[in-house]
Amino acid sequence: MIALLLRDLRLAMRAGGGFGLGLAFFLLVAVLVPLGVGPEGGVLARIAPGILWVGALLACLLSLDRLFALDHEDGSLDLLATAPIPLEGVVAIKALAHWLVTGLPLTLAAPLLGVLLHLPDSGQVWLVASLAVGTPALSSIGAFGAALTVGLKRGGLLLSLLVLPLYVPTLIFGAEIIKRGAAGMAVEVPLLLLAGITLGAAAALPFASALALRINLR
């Protein structure tokens, strides 16, 4: 399992692996929004939580269609399915690798973008906290979508349609944490709900994803 994690990380870092793609997209979104909306700090500060979370969702989505598709094309997925590692473990590890190369960099880069969008200082901590707690759910749910659409031509488009609605609760609670945190209100409830979504997705979805993969491999 560790070998699979290391391989996926290594592949992401090599040329054409897509590391930094999501992060660059996230940065661009956050830079473009003030250009479109105008520089008034009050307006930007109000929409910053939503923009940052929508940006994170879309950035995660960018690299999802490659999660299983590449392994399917070169035959690795067949071989992994017949390997001693359970397929559920393969899915969980690949989702973890996806989070390490997209969700984690987004979380670490977010404070910079928060400043760019005039997010109050009191919201910065919660921006990082909400992304740290919520982005693993994006990778888990995304892996499920990728497993459902593996092997389909133009599956990436269908994947977006499948996965984005599933991201709605994560988005709502994630942005709510930042909003409340910036306003100095209590954040426990949305934070716990977001943590619940992440834990639930990480626990249950690898099994659903593995089932979908097995059906798609037949």
Binding site: A3, L4, R10, R14, G16, D78, T82, I85, L217, R218
Partner: protein, 207 residues
């Protein structure tokens, strides 16, 4: 332990292509699957490897005993030959890839990226994975595609050694590997006569 397949029926795209397949593969023995294109050689091998369920029948060996080598080699172009092989060795919990590199004549290419290998070299690397899998039953689907004469002979030697160590091999191939000890199974004899089965896909899974 003998590998026994009895009364097996397999389907491709919801259509039963082979039925009543029976054979026994003893340790040290090889069986060559023959038959025209589309008869179900690949479908049979995928079923035996555990990638799709059989319609009916029994397979005596668990998928954990089977190393499957298909048309695609499962290589990553941006990883080197060594990295590719070490990954599969780690996945199968075996150590040491030197033996496999030597046997498939890949030592000189060990630091080259897989994307820069020729088709035949990629194939040799794909087949070297069998050696690091440590599994006794090899399922080979057209293993000699893109191999030159020397490489075919090299691979035939590898298979012969594997059989000599008590392993067994089931292969679909149109090329004679020169394994005089291999038995031949003509799949045309098991062709299913137009039996249509429900597709093993999402339609059925969520029906």
């Amino acid at each position: 332990m003998d590998f026994v397949v009895s009364d097996l029926a397999v389907a491709r795209g919801g259509i039963c292509v082979l039925e009543g397949v029976n054979f026994t593969l003893r340790p040290g023995a090889a069986l060559v699957l023959r038959g025209p294109n589309g008869v179900g050689k690949t479908t049979l091998l995928r079923t035996l490897a555990g990638l799709q369920p059989p319609l009916e029948g029994q397979i005596s060996a668990p998928p954990e005993a089977i190393a499957y080598a298909a048309h695609a080699d499962g290589l990553k172009g941006t990883l080197s030959v060594t990295e590719n092989l070490e990954f599969w060795a780690a996945v199968h919990g075996t150590r040491g890839i030197d033996h496999a590199l030597d046997r498939m004549n890949l030592r000189d290419l060990r630091d080259r990226r897989a994307a820069n290998l020729s088709a035949g070299q990629k194939r040799r690397l794909g087949l070297a994975r069998l050696l690091v899998s440590g599994r006794p039953i090899w399922m080979l689907d057209e293993p000699t595609v893109s191999l030159d004469v020397a490489s075919v002979a090299l691979f035939a030697g590898v298979v012969r050694d594997h059989l000599g160590q008590g392993g067994s091999a089931l292969m679909a191939t149109h090329i004679d590997l020169g394994l005089s000890e291999a038995a031949v199974l003509d799949l045309a004899a098991f062709r299913a006569q137009g039996r249509v089965q429900a597709a093993h896909g999402f339609d059925e899974a969520f029906a």
